[in-house]
Symmetry: C2
Subunit: 479 residues, 2 copies
Amino acid sequence: MANKEDTLGIAVKMEQDFPEWYNEVVIKGGLAEHSTIKGFMVIRPHGYAIWERIQAYFDGIIKKHGVKNAYFPLLIPESFFKKEAEHAEGFAPELAWIEKSEDDGERYAVRPTSETIMYDSYSRWIRSWRDLPLLINQWCNVLRWEVKQTKLFLRSREFLWQEGHCVYETEEECDKEARYYLEQYRKVAEELLAVPVILGKKTDKEKFAGAKTTYSIEAFMPDGKALQMGTSHNLGQNFAKAFKISFLGRDEKQQAPWQNSWGFSTRLIGAMVMTHSDDKGLVLPPKAAPIQIAIVPIFRKEDKDSILKKADEIKNSLKKYSVVLDGREGYTPGWKYNEWELKGVPLRVEIGPKDLEKKQAVFVRRDNGKKEFVPLKDIEAKAKETFDLMQGDMLNKAKKFLDESIAEASDWKSFEKELKSKKLVLVPFCGSGPCEEQIKENTGGATSRVIPFEQPENIGECVQCGKKGKFMVYFAKAY
Amino acid sequence: MANKEDTLGIAVKMEQDFPEWYNEVVIKGGLAEHSTIKGFMVIRPHGYAIWERIQAYFDGIIKKHGVKNAYFPLLIPESFFKKEAEHAEGFAPELAWIEKSEDDGERYAVRPTSETIMYDSYSRWIRSWRDLPLLINQWCNVLRWEVKQTKLFLRSREFLWQEGHCVYETEEECDKEARYYLEQYRKVAEELLAVPVILGKKTDKEKFAGAKTTYSIEAFMPDGKALQMGTSHNLGQNFAKAFKISFLGRDEKQQAPWQNSWGFSTRLIGAMVMTHSDDKGLVLPPKAAPIQIAIVPIFRKEDKDSILKKADEIKNSLKKYSVVLDGREGYTPGWKYNEWELKGVPLRVEIGPKDLEKKQAVFVRRDNGKKEFVPLKDIEAKAKETFDLMQGDMLNKAKKFLDESIAEASDWKSFEKELKSKKLVLVPFCGSGPCEEQIKENTGGATSRVIPFEQPENIGECVQCGKKGKFMVYFAKAY
């Protein structure tokens, strides 16, 4: 769809107005748009294809691990929410209720997450230790009635996600597995999307409503805000008890099993876009890009046929990849370059009359703009090499930014200073909820992001209250 | 999950009580269950894996054809429905409304189908003939507030489906493509699910709310009821005009485009189950079965290791297929046979001490129970051969039943007689809505199913009113 607006490129620079720049990059890159319905977004084909790549990558991993997909109802009875008190309280403000359902003598809400509706079934399915572990995942849409302004992919009333819900005989297995899924999330973020993350635990205040422990992968965006990329919860036996899930153990005793749940959403796309894109539009890492190569032939009337023929040969030699051959007439090469740059296509291949003569093509990398002349016979090998390099370079560049964005502070003054210069600040913290609330208030919105798994032996005094610190934790403002 | 109930097999025979038999086959086969929430179902992993096979098969076809997937909001504003009058009226009784949405000054309903919300976006995306054809598909859940009793996969308040929504420059292309997708539906039904179908058009009374023409594939179930397996609608310019979609044509004139939409749902799984299953449980065609082969080793303590080793070798030689090696202890081979039969696994491979001696295994086909001794060296080739045969045999058997179920009638008396003997009856019909209503009333529920594409030159008199018939059409009671 070559709407006129596309030709204009990104009107706002990243430095000028980051949120508006992001919004434009997503819209003009053809990934998504704001729906006419307040708070909702439309995921356009170019954006949905990224989600499909994420799905294929992660679905392959979990299926190999023994997880099976299933589908549970969209609506959840009010009574189910009330069975786990913390969970009910956590989600109450965000629920959208169905009018008509009162005919059935009960109110139903559109699922904000599916613990309760799934565990109602689990309570019938699980009888013996032989039924465990039960490893189930669901790909679906969820609704959370946000009141804040919609940000495409990052905050909207509906989003797409996966939610894994597993049940185990022992707490040890359950917790180990919760961390296994977190490690797979790291792979999705770093290896597919080239977004580096920090792994760790959430504080009690920030953990999932109803969980015993929440693990998280956390990324840091170019505007100095942290972004939670995925969470994996050790639910303990809380839900098992609330939903009366029990099994006959190997010891012949009836007991409650241990559960974890883990999810990531279309928000990942937003994180990837912010991490890599620039003032020309989207920049996508080769592994996650729906279109990996755009071939742009450059021709006059007299050499059109020979150039297009060669361009087609090049396309055929790149069959492994997702390639567009842009042979459209009535558009200049420059216009086409802009369009594929806006859409984040990792590699542009140009071929004109001179190249044809020299039996070469021109490779242009989207991430750094580097040009290279490639002999036609080397095209396939060179494409592979370029993509491997580019995928690595993009991750490394983002890692460098993350490393440079990390600061440590042991007292309030330096903590405040680092936060002001938009750092992700590691501080000793006492772990108390009210203390964390106080920090948020005093800093104008910084929240605890993640308690890294690696901790020093001695923790200093809490930056806020001065009491003995329990652990080191990252604080930052966040999406 | 080896619940005790599974061991009992199907308690009701197909002949005794078809609906209850079907319900048991689905539940005990582990495909789905009734949710605690009235009117909703849970699709269990074994059932969802069939849906994934259907998705992979069809998604491959449409992507090759140039269709791209996207995602549109779950909620639809009331005002959108009202833009196309017939559409609004058709869906009004089945809508579930959101309570909270009135905060936004408008009521929202959960989507029963997505024409309106998608075409709202299309009106912004389409400007010129260069933007056409626009070929978009969505895989999602929809809600239709059914008041009739839930039948797993066949009738429930929520179901999963795909909905394709395409836009074209000309009516000719639009209609041709609507029929193209119908032909792909035929392939899904016949080639993947081994369910034979009749292709044709719907009568005006049965067509989709807002469509110009509805095409349909129609199957016929063993209990003598027809089942609509998928529909493809030529929407004409109705929605384009209602949603103000217009484009600048090659003739430089602004004009309304032509649209089609097409969908099939998880109902396909129900049709496949009814068509093939028996009193022992599910029977699944090899191409659609999530587990294609169950290897059951038969051993005593003394030969356990050697048998399991050989069974494992067999499993490795069948890597192309989805194989379970059922080495569980504490279950008899007979118990295992029952379980895999209940679950519809197409091929059982048994290997015991005598087989080991003779360097053979035993193949047992699920569809006809035939046993065959297969030399171990031929296992892979024989598995392929068996599956090809079985897939064909199952389709042919179902085709034979369909052919035998078709009757023709030219007068009311024979029409009534054929309907009573549970036939799919082809009759001359005048095409009028009231006349069709009358037939439904007089026959206790028979509806027009499909107007086959192939029509005789001369049509007799309408079986109901005696006026000149317009076309031959199939009538039957239906799901």
